[in-house]
Subunit: 169 residues, 2 copies
Amino acid sequence: MSLRYAVLGLLARRPSTGYELTQTFDRSLRSSWHARHSQIYPELAKLEAAALVEVVGLGARRSKTYAVTAAGRAELRRWLVEVEPDRSQRSESGLRLFLTPLLDPDDRQATYERDLAHVELELAALGEVQAGMQNAPEPEAFAPQVELGIRMNTVLRDWLREQIKASAT
Amino acid sequence: MSLRYAVLGLLARRPSTGYELTQTFDRSLRSSWHARHSQIYPELAKLEAAALVEVVGLGARRSKTYAVTAAGRAELRRWLVEVEPDRSQRSESGLRLFLTPLLDPDDRQATYERDLAHVELELAALGEVQAGMQNAPEPEAFAPQVELGIRMNTVLRDWLREQIKASAT
DNA sequence: AAATGACATGTCAAGACGTACATGTCTCAG
DNA sequence: CTGAGACATGTACGTCTTGACATGTCATTT
């Protein structure tokens, strides 16, 4: 059911078209919940049928802009506050990291270096988000979340560097 | 396809029964890949059909102990080293954290406190794993992975404490 | 000797998800 | 004025995952 609340949550931040949501899933949400447009459009239709979102405008190229309704906001709040979180994760990267000690030193080194390159890109991207945040419409509310992302990736980067250095001996 | 390699990887660490794998998925792997027994048993059957694992012993209560074959080890190595990782994540907790700024201060405080309680339990559990690691059969290989888990959760704990303190003002 | 509860393996139906297919619109370069 | 490419929405089929159902074993307690 998380997809439903991910969509509801993004629309609560700002009304959007399905296309825009797809891009947001790829950008801001890539590190917590991933979804394709083939899932997003049907979910929007279901949410509209349930009166949790509504079409608030038609744009160019047949685009429809959706916004949450009052009922949608209430449902989102209920889920965030009252529903017990499912803490289980699905992260291929995490699984790979967990299994890496099974590799012999050369292979291990190579995969750690691949990961390090990726984490550094991630950190650069988050740095830009943080820098570009002053001129956002509703600015400061999400700053701590970006900061958390940076701290997490920094820990991972440092750990990877240590592993690479340690096995280079 | 990750499930397949998760199973293969756990069996590469040590031969196990399906039941034991289920428990390991709940314990060690809960923070990277989650699976139920209803997925694990069929996957073991498929892996056996593909000759990537084999039954190496029958135990009490009809239990079967599986171990990876040479082909299984090679396939696991191939996946870890040569297949481009899928970096997309699915973490309900991450999604919740991302959406929390939408809540009003009281609700936000409550959810952060719920998360903090959980992270502290997690840290305690990881601390025990780390402490009990000296007397493990193959001891030190996975120590850095445990250490990473502790660091990640520590960052999250500190961040949550900051958020709670900041909005208590 | 029977009940209880942990151990242990399996299947099935429904729902979630990804890949590929399909269609149409608007802008801009050439 | 035409073709390329981004914009925009949708569907279909197959696979992955969950939750519920189903069955049987072994050790301990009563």
